[in-house]
Amino acid sequence: MLDAYQESLLIFFGINLIAAFSFYLPFKTGQVSLGQAGFMGVGAYAAGIITTKLGLNFPLGLFTSAIVAGIVGLMVGFPALRIKGIYLLLLTLGFGQIVQVVALTWDYTGAHNGFQSIPKQKDVIYYIYGVLVFIIMFFWRLERSSLGRAMVAIHTDEDAAEVMGIDIVRIKLFAFSVGAAFAGMAGCLFAHMTTYVDSLTFGILLAVNILMFVVVGGGSTFIGPIVGTTVLYFLPETLRTLREWMELVPIEWTESSELLTQGYDWLYEFLDFENEKRWIAYALILILMMIWRPQGLVSRDQLKRLGRRFVGAKS
């Protein structure tokens, strides 16, 4: 079956995807949050207290992480209702920083020493993919429902949606809070994989990464975050394997001429993607992708057209 490396790749991919979905739900109602890493932190610490401090079981920890992060999400969501765009970014960013400060100073959970010896959950991968199946089914249904349409309407034109009878306050709060609950679960799963978290684990870089998953993949269908997370998560790994592909070229081919040998050596040297270069390449690909498809790699429109082509024109 899977070796340890492959398994850990799949585990962190799954956690990242849950985090991406946690960003995607409020984003559907036009709310752009840089607080999802913070909600992961809330979930990680809440679950850590349940399992490590109270010695209760992991499923209860997972459940608690969703509930606590969801409630905190509701509290952050209220002030978030009144503000938009860059100010909402700042508010959620500030929230993330508050979480970090609490983690850094709260003695009960280890303060600056970090939250240590969280029990490792051996079968965490099953929980991760179980949560993902649940979340994907949720979005699958949502995007075919009246509530889903209302969310797109709010995203497009909040004031127009409101005079069409949509209760934008409730729907935005719902999206923000449930999104936070998803992030809380991602944090809990992460903590019980790594067994250690501290104030730096859930920082701004993670928050931006989560945002990128959705922006690169596309924010108009739940397929977007899946594609975005897949591309961005596996891209650095793929770059690393380019050299291995080169090594498959038979040596006799390159030895046939001096020029080829030199070219091969130069390319081999160039593809040294173990270090910083990997991240530079990653950044370049990101920029190119945003120029090529600023609306994201997949869109709802594209999928609808594809669907019609294959299924035929249904009413």
Partner: protein, 266 residues
């Protein structure tokens, strides 16, 4: 219309300021049920602002509003919509990423799902591959409205991809889907060609006579207004300067003066 019936909408001294600028000044009038009531006036008279106040997008600095005899000043925009006040926008504001059918369905949402929980449970708690009876009912009704307006053929087209005249009709369909008692139509004929305008004339007449909907109509096309309306209120610089039957208003010296020097014809 019978004189005894209570007005469906009453405006008492509505005043709306933007900074130091008075966009509406002490505007009083009533709208009788099941009539087409036009609000006219030169550019910048405050007609759209009036609609924004009635639909709740703007709060007013003074005065009060009553809908079916009940004060609605403190009622939120989405609740006003669900009580039966629907509107269209002068500068078309469709949900561009949604299809025509979906645009119309959006304004059925509030009426079908009073609470967030009913909306959530409709969304997630039923068989994954079926639409569910409620969804089918909503779709059927939306299709009925699209057929009524003659745009059923465009149901799967994205709102962004429609011709201008059709976009105006989708605005009307979307307002209708909320099952309104009164519709506020902000220049529905703007940008329409004569044939489209004629079609619109017929649609508005049918809305009043067959669907018993009261229409508050802002429109610059005077042929349409004078031919269609039962009653006309005239605004100028945020003040009501006249009201009455179309022919009374057309011959009112204040109204003629207000339009003098504008490029519009009464």
């Amino acid at each position: 219309m019978s004189a005894a019936a209570a007005p469906i909408l009453e405006l008492h001294g509505i005043t709306k300021m933007f900074g130091g600028f008075t966009a509406l000044s002490d505007v009083h009038f009533s709208v009788e049920e099941k009539v087409i009531h036009a609000v006219i006036g030169p550019n910048g008279a405050g007609k759209t602002t009036l609609f924004n106040v009635i639909s709740g997008m703007f709060g007013a600095e003074g005065g009060s509003l009553a809908f079916k005899g009940q004060a609605i000043d403190r009622i939120k925009p989405h609740q006003r919509a669900n009580m039966g006040i629907a509107r269209t926008f002068q500068n078309i504001r469709l949900f561009e990423d949604l299809s025509v059918l979906e645009n119309v369905q959006v304004s059925q949402h509030g009426r079908h799902f009073r609470t967030i929980w009913s909306a959530v449970s409709q969304a997630i708690f039923h068989a994954p591959f079926s639409k569910g009876s409620q969804e089918i009912e909503m779709e059927d009704y939306a299709m009925e409205l699209l057929e009524f307006l003659g745009i059923a053929h465009a149901r799967n087209t994205n709102a962004a991809d429609l011709a201008f005249g059709e976009r105006r009709l989708v605005e009307i369909a979307r307002a209708l889907a909320a099952n309104p008692a009164i519709m506020l139509l902000d220049e529905p004929a703007a940008g329409m060609n004569p044939a489209e305008t004629e079609n619109l004339d017929e649609i508005l007449t049918r809305l009043r006579d067959e669907k018993n909907i009261t229409i508050l109509l802002v429109e610059h096309d005077m042929n349409l207004v004078m031919g269609l309306s039962d009653y006309v209120t005239v605004l100028n610089f945020g003040e009501k300067i006249a009201e009455g039957k179309p022919d009374e208003v057309q011959n009112d010296p204040d109204v003629i003066a207000a339009y003098l020097g504008t490029d519009e014809e009464l």
